[in-house]
């Protein structure tokens, strides 16, 4: 997608200043070239969703932003600071939090320890009471081993623990994967509430129906490139195209 069109799509629903700017992002896993020049923007307070088929490069995009891909090139600006060469711990301390697809719950830690593990990187994180208000199940299971929770509870824990840190930019990788509809609905409510609280969210989703309930804008990733982008208001007009892109 041309940069100008992409910026236009970004401006249409901008709720705040530009917080993340990705330009010509390339990434490699060993010898495999995965991203071939990704371009997109995220504005403060938005929920932006990366859509695409399996293996399109959505997760790699998030991992590249987080600095956990061995080899990257291009430019990633967060709050106008280029972070392409920063290590992942430094990126986290700038206020970016990542919730991985596999959830990353630690089996040697109980729920409380998992929840309190990420350090507070800046003021403004949600207090525990508010987190328990969002995820009441967690309060009841604080002393359980992290990996003994159900899939839905583990996902809640994975999201909950990054809310404490004060990071205002959240990257959620397929938060609904493998979950029951009722849990997906709960996670949708949570994302909507987080948006109201002022969080900016970059979401990777294969579940398009879920994404359409929470996202302000969409980018479609294919073969390591952004091939299209549109706002939620333009969704209906783009449905046919989207079905083709996603193969549904």
């Amino acid at each position: 997608m041309p940069e100008t069109a992409m910026a236009e799509a970004s401006a249409k629903t901008a709720t705040g200043g530009n917080i993340l700017q990705v330009r010509n992002l390339e990434a490699w896993y060993g010898e495999s070239h995965i991203l071939h020049g990704i371009n997109f923007d995220v504005n403060a307070g938005e929920v932006v969703t990366l859509l695409g088929r399996n293996g399109a490069g959505k997760t790699t995009t998030l991992k590249s932003i987080m600095g956990i891909i061995g080899k990257r090139a291009g430019s990633i600006k967060f709050n106008n600071q280029d972070i392409i060469r920063a290590t992942s711990d430094k990126i986290a301390r700038m206020g970016i939090a990542f919730c991985p697809e596999e959830r990353g719950i630690f089996s040697s830690l109980d729920v409380r320890e998992n929840l309190l593990l990420p350090p507070v990187v800046r003021p403004g994180g949600l207090p525990l009471e508010q987190i328990f208000d969002l995820f009441p199940n967690l309060k009841e299971r604080l002393n359980s081993q992290g990996t003994k929770l159900s899939g839905g509870e583990q996902q809640m824990l994975a999201i909950a623990r990054i809310l404490r840190t004060g990071a205002s930019f959240l990257m959620l990788d397929e938060p609904t994967e493998g979950l029951a509809p009722v849990i997906i609905q709960q996670i949708g409510h949570t994302i909507a509430r987080l948006k109201k609280e002022g969080f900016t969210i970059l979401l990777v989703e294969q579940n398009f129906r879920f994404a359409s309930t929470v996202a302000d804008r969409y980018y479609v990733v294919e073969h390591g490139k952004i091939i299209d982008g549109f706002s939620n208001a333009e969704l209906a007009a783009n449905m046919d195209k989207l079905h083709t892109y996603l193969g549904v």
Binding site: T87, S108, L109, E113
Partner: protein, 287 residues
């Protein structure tokens, strides 16, 4: 009967050294995935640092208990930064070979300058003498070694299992990439963990100096048994290392009383039995 109690005490003292050393090995293996064969040489360095502090600087045993682990720990951290960190992600064999080489070099250097015989290190005045317990005579220094080692082991266990810092360590053992993505400087934590493990070995060296004298090969003699202890307890298990260390010291002591001929081999026989029945050790995780 007095001989039995005496052997039990010797077993407990050996067990203290086994526990401190295997605890350090477990901490290092858990975090770095490295089988630290240099541990015996670093234990020896702890004893030598105490010896140098006393004879060159007039610094007492009590200060040596603090300073030697710090000095040798810093040496260990330099080793980790300059050499061990490059082995991340490689097979265990590389770490084992590198640390084995380091052990041979360190021991060789000390042997070159100090020979093979022991250098004397006297028991501090406050811990000289003994107490008659009625059923046996207890040398105060030996009692101190057992109790102090136990306290250090429990404190280390508490640090790793019950504190925020320990939670970082345990989490980074499972998924260092994600822990780093939470904002924790994992490479620095790995270096400090290696320093902690090495510091525990050096502390054992200081405790051992008045009992076993200070010898360049004091660690080489001990490390094989300590590895057997670690294998029995389970690589990477903190509490497993502590309990197995003390238990095997006692078993060795009892064997010395009941069947002295087997006292040098009983630990290895137990290791073989445990490996046959439970290859990951009594409380360990798979390597």
């Amino acid at each position: 009967m007095q001989a039995l109690y005496a052997q039990l005490l010797v077993g407990l003292i050996n067990g203290s050294f086994y526990a401190l050393l295997s605890l350090g090995l477990a901490v290092i293996f858990g975090m770095l995935n490295i089988i630290n064969f240099a541990h015996g040489a670093l234990y020896m360095m702890g004893a030598f640092v105490a010896y140098f502090l006393l004879n060159l600087g007039g610094i007492s045993y009590w200060w040596a208990l603090l300073l030697a682990p710090i000095i040798v720990g810093i040496f260990g951290m330099i080793l980790e930064r300059t050499m061990l960190q490059w082995l991340t992600g490689l097979d265990h064999l590389y770490g084992l070979l590198l640390t084995f080489g380091i052990a041979l070099i360190v021991q060789g250097v000390f042997q070159n300058y100090f020979g093979s015989s022991g250098l004397p290190y006297s028991i501090p005045d406050q811990l000289k003498g003994g107490v008659n317990l009625g059923f046996m005579f207890l040398p105060i220094y030996r009692g101190w070694v057992v109790i102090f080692s136990l306290v250090v082991c429990i404190a280390t266990w508490f640090l790793i299992e019950k504190t925020r810092l320990g939670a970082y360590l345990r989490a980074a053992t499972e998924n260092p990439t994600l822990v780093r993505a939470f904002g924790i400087n994992v490479p620095r934590m790995i270096t400090l963990t290696y320093g902690l493990g090495v510091g525990l070995a050096a502390l054992a060296g200081v405790l051992s100096a008045p009992i076993n004298q200070v010898r360049p090969l004091m660690g080489a003699d001990l490390i094989i048994v300590v590895f057997a202890v670690v294998v029995i307890g389970g690589m990477g298990s903190i509490m497993g290392s502590i309990i197995t260390g003390f238990a095997l010291g006692v078993i060795e002591g009892l064997t010395k009383y009941f069947y002295p001929e087997a006292s040098n081999t009983v630990v290895f026989v137990l290791m073989v039995l445990v490996l046959l029945v439970k290859p990951t050790g009594l409380t360990g995780r798979a390597a």
